[in-house]
């Protein structure tokens, strides 16, 4: 049967997949997709805690709502930055954006 550790373990694996996307991909859009997966894993964690640790708490849903808002905001600002970068450099590859690298 399903229990809190099972949900948390699935969320941990999802977080790891997102982390691979953030660290391993060269394109800014793909990095944003990795962050989306990591935030999705965080939401699954909260829903797991809501279901198995505090099933009578309504306020907990708002942590997920805030995370969902964060996902949308991260994508919006990320896309804005990608447009600005593409306009200046004609690329969205993060390896080409190493001006500040020491």
């Amino acid at each position: 049967m399903i229990s809190l550790p099972v949900v948390l373990a699935v969320a941990a694996l999802m977080f790891a997949i997102g982390l691979y996307g953030v660290l391993g991909q060269t394109n800014a859009i793909m990095v944003i997709m990795g962050v989306e997966l990591m935030l999705g894993a965080a939401m699954l964690n909260v829903v797991g805690f809501l279901r198995y640790a505090h099933p009578d708490a309504t306020g907990g849903s708002f942590f997920v709502l805030i995370l969902m808002t964060l996902m949308a905001l991260e994508a919006a600002i990320g896309f804005g930055l990608v447009i600005a970068t593409f306009r200046n450099r004609r690329t969205a590859e993060i390896d080409d954006l190493a001006d500040l690298k020491g």
């Binding site: 699935v10 691979y20 394109n27 198995y52 969902m68 896309f79 804005g80 306009r87």
Partner: protein, 170 residues
């Protein structure tokens, strides 16, 4: 939903969610990657439904279907090889990133399994969507308003960052 029904929905959906999430970074076609991410987050919405969070599950399905369609457009616009037909490798530090992801994923999963978490049974009078509605209009009004303001400011900020002739133009 009974425990058995939850398990019957949870396992296949969770496995499929992880598989589609992984294939997002394996496929070379960007349209396919965007749709796979939509599938992964949509399946997560189904998991929310299975875990008795109907409101959040439906909200997740609605929000992600819109967001991921927008993301597919951006990917096709800004990727050097959106169709994946040129065989470009769009990864770097592959071995180290896989190592970091595997180690962190396993560490978090092990901590999740070995920790002694509280286990409470879902009461029959668990809060439903109606209770969440009252929560929005009551105690959580401030956080809801904060989220609304944050979305508004981000819309303005995103346009300012992206617009032509802005301060970041070179």
């Amino acid at each position: 939903m009974s425990d058995l029904a939850t398990a019957l929905v949870f396992w296949p959906v969770a496995v499929l969610m992880l598989a589609t999430g992984l294939f997002v970074f394996i496929t070379s076609s960007m349209a396919r990657a965007g749709l796979l991410l939509l599938a992964a987050l949509g399946l997560e919405g189904l998991l929310f439904l299975a875990l008795a969070s109907e409101f959040l599950g439906v909200l997740m399905l609605l929000m992600m279907s819109a967001e991921m369609v927008i993301m597919v457009f951006f990917m096709v616009m800004f990727m050097p090889d959106p169709g994946g037909l040129m065989g470009m490798d769009m990864t770097h530090d592959k071995r180290r990133s896989i190592g970091a992801a595997v180690i962190l994923g396993l560490a978090l999963a092990i901590v999740a399994v070995v920790t002694d978490w509280p286990a409470r049974v879902l009461p029959p009078d668990a809060p439903d969507v109606r209770a969440i509605g009252f929560e929005v209009m009551g105690r959580s009004m401030f956080s809801f308003l904060f989220a609304a303001m944050a979305i508004l400011f981000t819309m303005v900020g995103g346009v300012l960052v992206a617009k032509q002739g802005g301060r970041y133009e070179r």
